[in-house]
């Protein structure tokens, strides 16, 4: 009743506001009387009471822990109403006689002398507050529609499998699945006496001692049990069992009582504490589980991430929920509890989002400064750990306990290990940088330095290698200017930074090679690389020779060159690429290469290209000459410029009208285009289109659902008639799309309909 009233109240308040034109609908008489009973004046005086009531309920529903305050109010109201009832009854005759209207004021008059009247009055007289307008109808409707839509979609999605199955099924079988089998037994069981004669007969049979199945079965069972004596119990057994049961019952009762007591506790603080306790317990359990199980940890992480994403997407914790909106609607009159809940929610949303932002920041930040910071911090951790090791005496209280110390120690070890790893990694990076920035001088030293941390390096090899690679590429550019080989230097200027990785690596390899050897002699006469390049330059063609004079080599050629050289590297490429090469390994590699003599190298590098070049050129020549000839031979219309519009985007050359009938064959398309050697045709095939056959019995295009000829032909493949198939196969191939049984109803579609098994696959 209270709820209903409050509803009316809000309506009236709304009525008074200028914007809303909605008027209170007049329902039945009972409602009218109630309206009158609770008029506007009353509302002004007592309305908020009910409002508050309502609020309390709302918060209750939202927060489970705070049940007690709602129930408090309820109790109070009940008392109030009781009293009201009494007084109303006493005053009923009076009020009806002299005023005719029953208002709350009148009712309240009877309460003058009661104990809590003044308090009540005071509370009722609290100043009224403005209630913000409800959400726009349009929006509300939209929300409703959305909700309905989602609900409907959920409902309908259950049908997809069934519908899809039906759509994909070749034949839909609407025949009833179960045939009614009229066996003798089934008829006997289903028999019910209807006619008079049947009834008489039944009676007679019963009198003669016929019993139904169930009764007979029961009888048999009883007899069986009695025979075995299984349902007999000794007194002792009975007593023991009884005591056991009693014990259990007592325990259960005790437990129930306890639960009941705890449930009754109305202190919010207690609830809060309990809640936190529970949370902590859960967390600790989870953590423990996570430590044991890596998968779980991952899962949790993923869950967290998902929740973040969801938060970002839905903004569920940004007062967007219905509940939050409704509370916010009340403006500043929100009570503390709901306010707290709101703020907690907001905080949670903030938390979620903040974490994301932090992550993003971390991802975004990179570069040397961050790396340095990391380095410092890790070093700090290491140092800290060391210092902590020493200062064990500073602990106090709980931390003095042995297991706590052990735990701390363990954690510390872990941190230490992690820090050390990080440090080594960072160190290695810096070392790489150092190495490559001044390659000529530092090769040896860097090698040595690396050896120091090589053991640890191995652990992080995969990652470290990758880093090193990236460094490698970064540094190779700086070497360009300092590289001792000027020819290669030339090439490299030609190469763009974005050129293929292989090429880059190669250059690096070469430069490195020379950086090692360049110290000894800078003329690099015996260097196989430069030699090969020069050789190629002279051997390939005269043109290249000429070009060489201008000391510029064709860019393409160089790239080719480098590729070819890369092949030689192939055997030792991985070692080369790793870039954590020591001097010795480099030496061994150069020796390997040196083992191949000049000619071999040249052969390996250029043999294939040279052959291909020759053949392709030859072919091109033939083509070119052929083309010229054909152009010269053909009619002038065929040559370009005649009847054609040249230029970009020009349409293809159209055939002259007269030529269309005699379709010209493409040249070279027919391998046996020439006449036979003796110049005689033994076979003539009529090339005319069979109009009568093609127009009627052939398709001009691939029919609609098929996108290609193969598909169509595949579906059309094979005979389906009786002549080519066994009876079963014939039936299978010509089965109608829908099967029904005449005289039997078709059952409506159901979600639980069995999905037909797919046909066997081959």
């Amino acid at each position: 009743m209270g709820k209903r009233k409050s509803h009316e109240v809000t309506k009236e308040v709304v009525d008074r506001q200028p914007k809303i034109v909605e008027h209170v609908s007049d329902g039945d008489d009972e409602e009218i009387s109630e309206d009158e009973a609770f008029n506007s004046e009353d509302e002004r005086m007592y309305g908020h009471l009910f409002c508050r009531d309502n609020e309390g309920e709302e918060t209750d529903s939202s927060d489970d822990a705070e049940e007690e305050d709602g129930s408090d109010d309820g109790q109070y109201m009940l008392e109030l109403l009781n009293k009201l009832g009494n007084s109303a009854r006493s005053e009923e005759s009076k009020s009806s006689s002299h005023k005719g209207k029953l208002t709350l004021d009148n009712l309240m008059k009877g309460l003058n002398d009661t104990q809590g009247y003044n308090e009540l009055r005071g509370s009722l007289k609290k100043e009224e507050r403005a209630i913000s307008a409800p959400i726009d109808k349009k929006h509300a409707d939209r929300e409703q529609r959305n909700l309905a839509y989602t609900e409907q979609v959920k409902n309908l999605s259950g049908w997809t499998t069934v519908i899809q199955g039906n759509r994909q099924a070749e034949t839909l079988d609407f025949k009833p699945k179960t045939r009614v089998e009229a066996s003798k037994d089934s008829l006997v069981i289903a028999f019910e006496p209807r006619s008079e004669f049947e009834n008489d007969l039944q009676d007679a049979l019963e009198q003669a001692g016929q019993e139904d199945e169930h009764a007979i079965l029961q009888k048999e069972e009883r007899a069986l049990q009695d025979d075995l004596g299984s349902n007999r119990l000794s007194m002792d057994e009975y007593k023991e069992r009884r005591s056991q049961l009693a014990q259990i019952r007592a325990l259960m009762f005790y437990h129930e009582q306890k639960r009941h007591q705890i449930k009754k506790i109305k202190s919010k603080k207690y609830r809060r504490i309990r809640k936190k306790q529970r949370q902590r317990q859960q967390d600790s359990m989870l953590e423990a589980a996570m430590q044991v199980d890596g998968n779980l940890a991952n899962e949790m992480k993923q869950k967290e991430e998902i929740s973040r994403i969801q938060e970002r997407m839905t903004l569920a914790h940004k007062n967007t929920s219905k509940w939050a909106k409704r509370i916010l609607k009340r403006g500043k009159n929100i009570d503390i509890e709901s306010r707290k809940a709101l703020s907690a929610q907001l905080k949670r949303g903030d938390d979620l989002r903040r974490r994301i932002i932090d992550n993003d920041d971390q991802n975004a930040s990179d570069g040397a400064s961050d790396e340095e910071d990391l380095l410092k911090s890790t070093q700090g951790i290491l140092a800290d750990v060391k210092s902590n090791d020493v200062s064990g005496s500073e602990m106090n209280g709980l931390f003095k306990l042995s297991f706590m110390q052990k735990g701390i120690q363990k954690q510390r070890d872990l941190a230490k290990e992690e820090a050390r790893k990080l440090l080594t990694e960072l160190n290695s990076h810096t070392m790489d940088e150092v190495k490559y920035s001044n390659a000529d001088t530092n090769v040896n030293t860097s090698g040595k330095r690396k050896f120091a941390s090589s053991l640890e390096m191995k652990k992080h090899l995969a990652r470290g290698e990758l880093m090193a690679k990236s460094r490698e590429f970064g540094v190779s550019n700086s070497l360009d200017s300092t590289g001792p080989i000027n020819v290669l230097h030339d090439y490299e200027l030609g190469l763009e930074e974005s050129s293929s990785r292989k090429g880059n690596e190669l250059i690096l390899g070469i430069t490195k090679e020379n950086s090692g050897k360049g110290c000894v002699d800078k003329k690099h006469v015996d260097n196989p690389w430069t030699g090969s390049v020069e050789y190629k330059g002279t051997a390939s063609s005269n043109k290249v020779d000429k070009d060489r004079k201008s000391s510029r080599l064709n860019m393409n050629q160089t790239v080719l060159n480098l590729d070819a050289v890369a092949d030689i590297f192939d055997a030792t490429k991985t070692a080369e690429r790793a870039s954590s090469k020591t001097e010795t390994s480099e030496m061994s590699q150069s020796r390997k290469i040196a083992r191949l003599n000049q000619d071999e190298l040249v052969q390996r590098a250029f043999a294939t290209t040279a052959m291909e070049e020759v053949t392709s050129k030859f072919e091109q020549e033939i083509e070119a000459t052929d083309g010229q000839k054909s152009k010269a031979d053909g009619d002038p219309k065929a040559s370009s410029g005649w009847g054609s519009w040249a230029g970009v985007g020009a349409p293809p050359l159209l055939q002259a009208k007269g030529d269309r009938k005699t379709v010209k064959l493409q040249k070279g398309s027919n391998p046996h285009g020439k006449r036979s050697a003796n110049g005689k045709h033994d076979v003539i095939i009529n090339k005319k289109r069979l109009k009568k056959a093609s127009d009627v019995f052939m398709l001009g295009e691939v029919p609609h659902p098929f996108s290609s000829r193969e598909e169509y032909e595949q579906v059309m493949l094979g005979g389906i008639g009786r002549e080519w198939n066994v009876a079963s196969a014939y039936r299978n191939m010509t089965r109608p799309e829908i099967l029904t049984r005449s005289g039997k109803s078709i059952r409506p579609i159901s979600k639980s309909a069995k999905v037909k098994r797919a046909a066997a696959k081959f």
């Binding site: 285009g673 005689k680 076979v683 069979l690 093609s694 032909e713 094979g718 191939m733 066997a760």
Partner: protein, 594 residues
């Protein structure tokens, strides 16, 4: 001599292995027209002979839209934009899920059908075929005479099939109906007889006071067409004249296409006429422009009529086209006297007045090999259901094993001569029996050629059951009428019917051109001698010298022998001097170790 019991498994089993139904596979040997067969089967057949058939022909069959697009993009002059759009169309060609599923389902069904058909094959086809085989090298299957067969090797039922009928109105010819139950004997001087070949009973006999040039059963034995002096007449099995076909005048040869219900006739004027026997209308008339003597046979696989002309050519005809479909020059300077086409429609055998019998692969339009008939001109030719080739030349009938179609075989399979009976006018194999009928100058003789007929009956086919009763015959008649095919459906490739046309005339023409070109290309590439174009090689002087070098006379032979002897001696001496330690006892295999 033993009868080979093994089934000749070449085509049948391989086709089963390929997923074709046995029925389909069996159909290849059966008397079936591929026009009725779904065209896909032929495609399967084609793919079977992929290496034999010119690639271009296959391409034409399987040319796809994507290929077509590519072809267009290559062949036509396109600008950049058009090229790009063409590429896109090729690239993003929609692959419809629904269609894919449909294709898959169909495929599955087809395979299942094939499996069940294979199972049924085991149950239904209990008989197996085989040929007579020689036990040792000295034995020849040709020497097996009919007398010997009849009295020593054959069971009583079969031996009854060996007989001679001496008839007055010679020379005689004969034809069988499609089931092989009835034979139609015709004396060229006006005698006509329907014989129950199984029971060796005369069914009906009639005398026409006219010259009979050719006869043919229509859809079953109850009706027959007779090419008489002036017109073609139709009689029923009681000898009643039903129709006189005025359109078909001066007929030389007639034939009946069972699936299209078409009676074909070629006459003196060289016009090929098609008459629908169910409606009685003349469907089409084609002028071959080659009058005179003509040979007419049908291709059982695609119902194309093959006409052999006096100028040595064979032309292929369909009612759908007023021009010939193809023309082959089979016999140079000699008339085509006889012709036969096998059931699969792959091979054609032509006999000419030049006494040559040519084997043609019609898929490729190429002559694969040829045989010579020593006795005389091959007047009649026939291929049995299992591709035994029978040639009637002069008084002889020579039979070749099925292998003779595939490659050149040295010896014939069997031989029979009708001495004192004149030339063998007609030679026909009886369907579903190992029997061959010969019509000659003194009547008709029937002989047994083991392994010539299909051993298993096909009961699914209308009018093919030799044991059918009256009711069955009537039902089959109706069924065959209902299944009648349109005359315009006759094309060279039955796959065309219901298929997608080549979208551009260029492609179609190209395909046919290339087919023609390959057919016309010289048979043996090795024969083509490469000219050596070195300088001075083509001088007349050097040519003569080279020629003289090749002449081998006795002097040169002597010189060569002397030279060889000297060389031999020198070798022996060298051997003796170098390694005396070589013991002579060592075997030649071990001698290299010394």
């Amino acid at each position: 001599m033993t009868e080979g019991t093994e089934e000749s498994t070449d085509e049948r089993t391989s086709s089963i292995a390929r997923g074709m139904t046995t029925k389909e596979a069996g159909r290849v040997q059966h008397n079936l027209q591929t026009a009725k067969r779904s065209h896909s089967e032929d495609k399967a057949l084609l793919s079977k002979y992929k290496d034999k058939v010119p690639q271009t022909a296959l391409d034409s069959v399987a040319i796809t839209t994507s290929e077509h697009l590519e072809h267009i993009s290559k062949s036509k002059k396109l600008n950049d934009y058009q090229k790009r759009s063409m590429q896109k169309r090729v690239q993003y060609r929609r692959k419809d899920k629904v269609i894919q599923a449909r294709v898959k389902v169909h495929k599955t069904k087809r395979y299942q059908a094939a499996i069940s058909a294979a199972d049924a094959h085991l149950i239904l086809n209990t008989q197996s075929a085989g040929l007579v085989e020689a036990e040792h090298d000295m034995e020849r299957t040709t020497s097996l005479s009919q007398h010997e067969l009849k009295h020593h090797h054959l069971d009583q039922q079969t031996s009854r099939q060996i007989y001679d009928l001496t008839l007055p109105h010679s020379p005689y010819g004969l034809k069988y109906d499609r089931s092989g139950r009835y034979s139609l004997l015709y004396g060229q001087r006006g005698h006509l007889a329907i014989m129950d070949a199984t029971h060796l009973q005369l069914h009906r006999e009639l005398h026409i006071q006219e010259r009979i040039r050719d006869v043919s059963f229509l859809h079953n034995y109850t009706m027959m067409a007779v090419a008489q002096t002036n017109h073609v007449y139709i009689y029923d099995d009681q000898g009643t004249e039903i129709h006189k076909l005025n359109d078909m005048n001066d007929p030389f040869a007639i034939d009946f296409l069972p699936y299209h219900w078409l009676l074909t006739c070629v006459g003196r004027s060289g016009h090929l006429k098609y008459l629908d026997t169910s409606t009685g209308q003349l469907v089409s008339t084609h002028n071959t422009k080659l009058a005179g003597h003509n040979v007419l046979r049908q291709n059982p696989s695609n119902a194309v009529m093959h006409l052999g002309h006096a100028n040595g050519t064979v032309s292929l005809w369909s009612p759908a086209s007023s021009q010939f479909l193809a023309k082959l020059h089979c016999h140079k300077g000699a008339a085509v006297t006889s012709m036969a086409i096998d059931l699969s429609g792959n091979y054609m055998v032509t006999g000419g007045a030049d006494r040559q019998v040519h084997i043609w692969d019609i898929r490729k339009f190429r002559k694969t090999h040829s045989y010579f008939t020593p006795a005389g001109v091959p007047q009649s030719l026939d291929l049995s259901q299992r591709n035994v080739m029978g040639i009637g030349h002069a008084t002889h009938a020579t039979f070749w094993s099925p292998e003779a179609l595939l490659r050149k075989v040295k010896d014939p399979y069997m031989h029979h001569s009708v001495h004192g009976c004149g030339a063998v006018e007609t030679l026909r194999f009886r369907p579903f029996e190992d029997v061959c009928g010969l019509g000659h100058g003194k009547g008709v003789s029937s002989i047994v050629i083991p392994g010539s007929g299909e051993p298993n009956l096909d009961t699914t086919e209308a009018n093919l059951d030799p044991n059918q009763d009256k009711k069955q015959r009537r039902e089959a008649e109706v069924r065959a009428l209902l299944d009648k095919l349109q005359p315009n459906m006759i094309t060279m490739d039955p796959a065309d019917i219901g298929g997608v046309e080549d979208s551009s005339p260029e492609i179609r023409q190209q395909r046919l051109e290339s087919l023609e070109a390959t057919a016309n290309a010289k048979n043996d590439a090795r024969k083509k001698k490469q000219k050596s174009k070195k300088r001075g090689r083509s001088k007349i002087q050097t040519k003569l010298r080279r020629k003289s070098q090749n002449i081998i006379d006795h002097q040169i032979v002597k010189q060569r022998e002397q030279k060889e002897e000297v060389e031999k001696k020198a070798k022996e001496e060298a051997r003796q001097s170098s390694g005396e330690s070589k013991p002579k006892s060592a075997t030649p295999a071990l001698q290299r170790f010394f």
